[in-house]
Symmetry: C2
Subunit: 340 residues, 2 copies
């Protein structure tokens, strides 16, 4: 993958062959354990409830498992003891998957990353119930760490995510958007879970309070950068890369950073506001995508993402040198540079 | 309320003026604390997120709060210390309300017990997210007991409920129904939560393992009786009492005990099977209701409910005498005799 033509600090970082497989190498065996947990979770129902087995296989297999990677890498930055972290890493990914299942049911999405959604295959009703079941299993894995701090953190984080999603639902098609509201929303719907992933790894590895705070801050800033890049890719990716139409967020009424900047640059009249107001939607969505891609807005968004990514990397300086610390740094670079 | 004309053991029990207010008297102040928790939970969002405040007020206020009553009564059977039980009682009711919000979204119900549903007022999307938020807050309350056993129990129970609901969704309109499957479903979707309510009260009050097991068994059997009676009332109640059309479960494709017995009595041809097969649905639902109400089936269902209710009452003999133990006995009678 070549970095884009403009030269922003992180995007021009010379990191050869950044890919997830390489990045995950230090925690490869740990992630295999998470996948084994998922397989057991699905296989448990094979005889007694084959439909559920099929749904679980469909939804649990083949993901990027970023959150477990973050949990294990954070734990291994501390002291390399990862025994009790497996349950929490599993919980973090299950919570993530549960929110995706509910999101797709809410958005009536047919596909996600090129795969058919649960609601499309089994109906909205079962998607809601499957999501609830996954939240429950996630909660069980969190509680099975026997650590009350991460168990509480788990429920708090689920609450924060739901509030973030509710705020997003409230703000749909609203012309009254600003940076503060945008950051509040993405902090809730994305950064909270990446924060918990890093934080819970640090807590379960027995980190000092300073170390826990460093990794908490790392996860949170990484999460903000991650979501901003997601929101950028929704405009600059191809339909094939995205597995959905370009500009899907805006099409569904969600104003993300690129659209927000366009609105702020042209406060009197702009295609985003026109689109939100319901005026000639097909024309205006096309104009919005065009103006966002051509006017330096993408570069501005990348600078914003890099700000958080760099902050995440800076924080890691407070931890002892280790393979996993370097992997976390590389992850922060990768997540800004990725194309999908 | 007069008992029905037929004389089944519990139904003819001479208990004067059984009503929830009287039954709840021994835990009246405790239940006021639960309601204060609900009020705080809603009021927290009044300024920052008025929509959420309104949704929470709508859904949290005015319920029967049976589960918190059960939690407190169970705790007070043990030793009267109820300090740490408040959080769990709140968690148990929040979990219940969350499942109702998701159920109504799934069923596209317009009303529940005469009140307009969240999905009708704010849309399915927000109902899904509000349910998720309530699960999260419930989990936080459970974890704030600082008791890992009830925190684990909480997530396990949520999983069991979701499985129960998934089984019900799988079995919709299926002609292949039997008693075993029916009991498995209602054990999951209803009895599990009543079981947890009693069990968690006993655990948090510091009960011995024997006492915890007695109250666990009480809650479970009470839950089975409770759901069977719910399923009876769905046929014998009036539309006004039910707040929905008579026979709603069957209309939505769910075969409950009365319909199941009718199918078993007339295996070759019966209106339930005809209805499930999609044949002349309006006529057959009417016939099914008529035959269920006239053929002694209701009496048979009540005998089944009483079996579990009596089992629940018998178990309580293993506990020391107390006001709350008597209240739990009266509750088991009330739940069979109630009309709504």
């Amino acid at each position: 993958m070549k970095p884009p033509a403009w030269g922003l600090p992180l995007l021009k970082t010379q990191v050869v062959e950044l890919d997830l497989k390489t990045l995950y190498a230090p925690v490869k065996n740990d992630l295999a354990d998470v996948e084994a947990n998922f397989k057991s979770l699905a296989d448990f129902w094979k005889r007694d409830f084959p439909d559920l087995h099929d749904m679980l296989r469909h939804i649990l297999m083949g993901g990027k498992i970023l959150r477990p990677a973050l949990t294990f890498m954070s734990g291994r930055c501390i002291d390399g003891k990862t025994g009790r972290i497996l349950d929490m890493a599993t919980a973090n990914e299950l919570m993530h998957i549960a929110t995706l299942v509910h999101d797709d049911a809410i958005d009536r999405a047919d596909t996600r990353r090129g795969r058919v959604t649960v609601n499309k295959l089994w109906g909205t009703e079962k998607a809601i119930l499957l999501g609830d079941f996954l939240f429950a299993r996630a909660g069980e894995f969190a509680a099975s760490t026997d650590n009350l701090r991460v168990t509480k953190l788990f429920s708090q984080t689920l609450g924060i995510i739901a509030i973030g999603e509710l705020r997003q639902a409230r703000d749909l098609y609203s012309p009254a958007q600003n940076m503060e509201g945008y950051l509040q929303r993405i902090a809730g719907k994305t950064a909270a879970l990446l924060k918990m992933s890093a934080e819970s790894g640090a807590i379960l590895a027995g980190g000092t309070e300073d170390q826990v705070q460093i990794l908490t801050g790392y996860g949170y800033n990484l999460g903000l950068a991650f979501q901003i890049v997601d929101d950028i890719l929704d405009f600059i990716g191809t339909e094939k890369e995205l597995g959905k139409p370009v500009g899907s967020d805006l099409r569904q009424g969600t104003v993300t950073l690129p659209a927000l900047i366009l609105m702020e640059r042209q406060p009197k009249s702009n295609p985003v506001a026109q689109f939100l107001a319901g005026k000639d939607r097909e024309k205006n969505i096309g104009l919005a995508i065009e103006q966002i891609k051509s006017g330096g807005i993408i570069e501005e968004c990348y600078l914003e993402a890099e700000k958080y990514s760099e902050k995440a990397i800076e924080l890691l300086a407070g931890l002892p040198e280790s393979t996993c610390r370097e992997a976390l740094k590389a992850l922060a670079v990768y997540l800004v540079r990725r194309r999908n």
